[in-house]
């Protein structure tokens, strides 16, 4: 099972000090967080995509992922999420394949429709077309990654004649795709149809709801013939704050909770903790709570935690990461491994996907001059000779 963190890059005032980080600080902090996560042996770091303040998440996550790739060794780089609705699928195909090369395959991505209404009109799209955009754009994205030469026409972008998206995916294998959705059954259906992963970011939702969405995806995954329902690839979000002594954790986190951008000034910390995966307490409490998630959604493949949010200072965030990496995740890994039946797969990685495809293939497309029939490569050789 994979464990990691995700960040949405919110630039939030620290309610205990009144201090708000600058964009520059927040951006550098996210990079630092990713580097530490890699050093601590976490499996995944995922970054959000945003197009409006108060977020310092990249508008195009590969910009940030490329930088992180250069400074990390093992951690898988992912997104939370990549907007499949308002981005041009051609650019997604190109940019994610590019960063996949830079990261030597340590890249996958999570597609979402976005939760900020005005982003649609800002990018010339109609929010009422959210689902159709997600469906058409992803169908094209897949073709661009799997076919060298794409002739295509659809409803939402200009047609393509003989288009080759470059670079071709590393080793001939496209990045694995997760589809993230909170409440749209169509997206669970989409993930199931393609046999892709389904990620339910349940951090603001009760488990009863999460469970229904995951069950729908599992049922449909089996329906489309990708395997048994319990072999579907599921990811969940999570939210924790830990101190050795649970009372200390509650005391320290409460002002951040009470003023948090999303749920602040609403339900109490206690109510919200009961209803959502938010767990504020000792590392042992976090282990117990998250080890039990599989009782509700089945053995799943990826657990991502949100730890840098609500204005928590970077020092605290790094402490949280350390507790997560040294005390919590090793235990959760053991528990997950012990309970997972043999036939339930791990989350696909680049290596496992290359193996499944029968080995690495270099799909580099070399341009051929349509008049001389020469390739750029041959031209150069002859010029040298």
């Amino acid at each position: 099972m994979q464990f990691g963190i995700f960040t949405v890059g919110d630039v939030t005032q620290d309610p205990t000090t009144g201090r708000t980080p600058s964009e520059n600080e927040r951006i550098k902090n996210m990079v630092e967080l990713a580097i530490h996560a890699d050093q601590l042996g976490l499996d995944v770091v995922a970054v959000g995509e945003h197009h409006n303040p108060p977020f310092a998440a990249p508008a195009n996550p590969p910009v940030l992922l490329g930088n992180i790739a250069a400074q990390t060794k093992n951690i898988i780089l992912s997104t939370a999420t990549t907007l499949i609705t308002t981005n041009d699928p051609v650019r997604l195909a190109e940019d994610y394949a590019y960063v996949q090369h830079l990261a030597d395959g340590r890249v996958d991505l999570m597609l979402g429709r976005g939760n900020t209404g005005p982003v649609y009109p800002w990018f010339g799209k109609d929010i009422r077309e959210g689902i159709p955009l997600a469906i058409e754009n992803y169908a094209l994205l897949r073709r661009l990654w799997t076919e060298d030469n794409v002739t295509w026409s659809g409803k939402f972008r200009s047609p393509l004649q003989s288009f080759t998206s470059t670079p071709r995916p590393l080793d001939g294998v496209a990045p694995f795709v997760w589809h993230g959705s909170i409440r749209s059954p169509e997206i669970a259906e989409q993930a199931a149809y393609y046999g892709d992963g389904f990620f339910h970011n349940n951090i603001f939702w009760p488990m009863s709801h999460t469970k229904q969405m995951v069950q729908l995806y599992r049922r449909r995954f089996e329906h489309y013939g990708h395997g048994r329902a319990d072999q579907a690839i599921v990811g969940l979000g999570g939210q924790v704050f830990m101190r050795a002594n649970s009372q200390d954790a509650v005391r320290e986190f409460r002002p951040y909770f009470d003023n948090a951008p999303v749920y602040g000034h609403g339900p109490s910390l206690e109510d919200f903790s009961r209803e959502t995966p938010l767990t504020v307490g000792s590392p042992q409490q976090v282990i117990e709570r998250y080890a039990a998630m599989a009782d509700d959604v089945g053995d799943y493949q990826r657990q991502l935690f949100l730890i840098d949010h609500a204005g928590l200072p970077q020092k605290t965030v790094l402490e949280q990461l350390e507790i997560l990496g040294t005390q919590v995740v090793p235990e959760l890994r053991k528990i997950a491994a012990a309970r997972k039946p043999e036939h339930v797969p791990d989350a696909p990685t680049h290596a496992s996907r290359v193996a499944a495809a029968g080995g690495a293939r270099d799909l580099t497309v070399h341009g051929v001059d349509d008049v001389t029939g020469l390739t750029a490569e041959k031209d150069t050789k002859e010029a040298v000779r």
Partner: protein
């Protein structure tokens, strides 16, 4: 959601009065009792469940912010969504239904009241507010695709002390009469249709993915 026991209908009352005692609650109880009686006259047995929104005030504020309802509020919302009839009664504040009442409506699941017979009631200090029922409340329920009964019942303070309620002609046009008429209208709808309203499962995809792909 099935009413196993021979079609006993569920009447759910949403009442937004906050006083103790509350004239809104008083009106709600009168409407519920009269509806039960009228349904019984039509050979239909029913149960009445009252949702006092005051009990859910904090949870409603939370649900408005978080986007999901939990605990007793969740149960109340589910109860409304599966009701055979709804009686909705609110005090009039600042020329409209109360904010508490609207907050509850705001967090109802989409389609929760579609096709549900609804009797509307309201209370206020003066009869000058009576058209709020027609100008604010009825459009709200029209938007929700509920089936409102023609008679909405308004009770001003003075109605509670009049013979048969206010009105020159006494019992023939007063509060008692309006309650009876409205309850009969609701009972007609309740008795005239099968119990157990079927809701579409939120998590069923109507079309297979192939169809979604073609539509795109």
């Amino acid at each position: 959601m099935t009413n196993g026991s021979n079609d006993v209908r569920r009447i759910v009352v949403i009442q937004a009065g906050t006083g103790q005692p509350s004239s809104t609650r008083l009106l709600a109880d009168r409407l519920a009792g009269a509806t039960r009686d009228a349904a019984l006259e039509r050979g239909v047995d029913s149960t009445v469940e009252v949702i006092d929104l005051r009990d859910h005030a904090q949870a409603l504020a939370g649900a408005v912010l978080t986007g999901f309802a939990t605990g007793a509020l969740r149960e109340a919302l589910d109860s409304v969504a599966s009701a055979d009839a709804v009686i909705a009664v609110t005090p009039i504040y600042q020329a409209s239904y109360s904010g508490l009442f609207k907050s509850f409506i705001d967090v109802l699941d989409e389609g929760a009241l579609r096709g549900t017979p609804v009797l509307m009631g309201a209370t206020a200090g003066t009869a000058r507010h009576s058209l709020v029922l027609e100008h604010a409340m009825r459009p709200l329920f029209a938007y929700l695709k509920a089936v409102t009964v023609p008679t909405a019942v308004f009770a001003a303070s003075e109605d509670w002390g009049a013979i048969g309620g206010t009105g020159d002609s006494g019992a023939s046009s007063g509060l008692d009469r309006r309650i009876t008429v409205a309850a009969s209208e609701l009972a007609d709808l309740v008795a005239g249709r099968a119990g157990t309203r079927n809701r579409t499962d939120d998590f069923t995809v109507p079309a297979g993915f192939e169809e979604l792909l073609r539509g795109a």
